[in-house]
Amino acid sequence: MEIDPLIFRLSIFILSIFVGYYVVWSVTPSLHTPLMSVTNAISSVIIVGAIIAGLSGSSDSVFNTSSIFGFLAIALAAINIFGGFLVTQRMLAMYKKKKKDK
């Protein structure tokens, strides 16, 4: 009997939770705010679903109810991707070490 592909996805999911658990515990508390903004940015990888949805229309009618929701989701996810990564970059650039001569 073949194994349902769902089981494989479930395995990836469960193992990723464990990876996430150990990786996040090692994040230094002073970087918890950048952690939130970067997790925000990466969870917007949901844009891949939105792109599929947006392209679901036919070539003569790009817009149907389904693809319109897709396009809206693309815009929302894109705000998060650009906003999330850039604001994280901006924050991380501020974390500096002590200068010796002070």
Partner: protein, 465 residues
């Protein structure tokens, strides 16, 4: 068009890059590189999606237009937003992830063929379950984050909104969501799908309104976690590894942060979520408050105390963020350092409105991160320090958490500020903090209260040094 196997490998690679992005945050030196890994992972995921579609028609053009549209809005916000508004920004971003998940689920429900999930009215059972969970969690994330955003932004009162029968009502709604999902899966009725979304929006709203302002660190972390689970639900529907990995990472990240925040307040997760904290307590304490003597001073006294100190510990809190006093504070510290006074910063885990809030503000004001310490690292140093400078913090310094088992904050880890030789407390008035209780520290022999706006007082002290 590339094969499904190849695109699956691309998604796996981008999932791994996302793990590395979080891994980078273990220290500020590696964090910037980590962020680049994250960006690279995102580019790979989007490119793989483009390559695996054979539909390069006008629709594709619109995809690019919407990415650019959203991207420019996002970039604009990212550059314009002041660092003090970071909690609102993060809450706002969470709501967008939630809404995007809802929209993708709607799209997949209306047009399942595009996702290989079956036909409308006959969607594969597994996919339908995953889709409805993703949509419900996404909707809860959306409306919950909107309320959190409004509370943080001050557009809505930060005090808890409670009413009779609140918890039973929420319980009924949560149970009904499960029933609706069950019925939806057995009937495939689109009406039930819309009802599910409506009810989920409603419960997200109801769950967050009873939670007060200072519990927002828990709420934001929790919504962070939800947005991850919503993404994972959609990832299962779309059979997309990158989404599943990311969803799991974000979900566990948010859960850990909520745990750390709850521990920082010595309260259980459910205690925070059920809300209403600080709404009723405190009325009994108000009566005896006026009778106790308080020593208050001015900038001159404070400057005198600090000039004669050899080590100073700064305890920032939410009040510093409100007064935007971080730059003035750093200038004061620079002057202290010129006089060979050792200065360090002590950060309580729940100081501010989101995890790490104070650290970002201090970093913005050019405070080197190796002068900033967490509670456990610095708490023993208070006994040897000459002056503790408390700016905008309150409950996190209250010694009553160690002494009075009756107190609502009993058992909460607090900064041992009272062990310092003298304590300077910048505050606008003697009003109690979020927990609604009086702070014994105000009335201690060695405490000098500085009643003023945090920023103005700090500037005045610098002038007097």
């Amino acid at each position: 068009m590339i094969s499904a196997n190849l695109s699956a490998i691309f998604y796996l690679v981008s999932g791994v890059l996302f793990i590395l992005a979080l891994r980078g945050l273990s220290s500020p030196e590696t964090s910037r590189q980590g962020n680049l890994f994250g960006i690279l992972g995102m580019i790979i995921a989007i490119t793989a999606t483009f390559l695996s579609t054979d539909n390069f028609s006008t629709g594709f053009l619109f995809v690019l237009i919407f990415i650019l549209l959203g991207g420019s809005v996002g970039a604009f916000i990212a550059y314009k937003i002041p660092m003090t508004a970071m909690p609102e920004l993060v809450a706002g971003f969470h709501s967008l992830v939630g809404l995007a998940a809802v929209f993708v689920a709607i799209s997949a429900f209306l047009n399942p063929e595009a996702f290989n999930l079956g036909m409308p009215g006959n969607i594969k059972l597994g996919s339908l379950i995953e889709m409805s969970i993703g949509a419900a969690v996404g909707a809860i994330t959306f409306s919950g984050s909107v309320i959190a955003f409004l509370k943080l932004q001050g557009l809505m009162s930060g005090s808890p909104i409670t009413f009779k029968g609140q918890h039973p009502l929420n319980a009924i709604i949560l149970i009904s969501i499960i029933i609706i999902i069950y019925l939806l899966c057995s009937t495939q009725s689109s009406n039930l799908f819309w009802i599910l979304l409506l009810v989920s929006f409603l419960i997200g709203f109801l769950l967050i309104i009873p939670i007060g302002g200072a519990d927002m660190p828990v709420v934001i972390s929790m919504l962070n976690s939800y947005s991850g689970w919503a993404a994972a639900g959609i990832g299962f529907t779309l059979e997309n590894t990158a989404l599943i990995i990311t969803g799991a990472l974000v979900g566990s990240s948010g859960a850990i942060l909520s745990y750390i925040m709850c521990k920082g307040m010595n309260r259980s997760f459910f205690n925070v979520i059920l809300g209403g904290f600080g709404a009723t307590e405190g009325s009994g304490n108000k009566s005896n408050k006026e009778q106790k003597p308080v020593k208050s001073g001015n900038a001159d006294d404070a400057a005198f105390l600090m000039k004669n100190a050899s080590s100073v510990i700064i305890v920032p809190g939410y009040g510093m963020a409100v007064a935007q006093a971080q730059h003035a504070l750093r200038e004061m510290v620079d002057t202290l350092k010129k006089n060979d006074i050792k200065v360090s910063y002590a950060i309580h885990p729940v100081a501010g409105r989101m995890p790490g809030h104070m650290n970002v503000l201090l970093a913005e004001a050019n405070v080197p991160y190796d002068e900033v310490f967490e509670l456990e690292e610095i708490n023993n140093d208070f006994a040897n320090a000459d002056v503790a400078f408390v700016i905008g913090a309150n409950d996190v310094t209250n010694p009553v958490a160690k002494t009075d088992p009756q107190s609502p904050i009993y058992g909460m880890p607090v900064l041992d500020v009272e062990k310092c030789k003298s304590v300077l407390f910048v505050k606008r008035s003697l009003s109690p903090g979020y927990a609604g209780i009086d702070n014994d520290l105000f009335y201690k022999e060695n405490t000098l209260m500085l009643f003023a706006d945090a920023k103005k007082m700090t500037e005045d002290i610098t002038k007097n040094l």
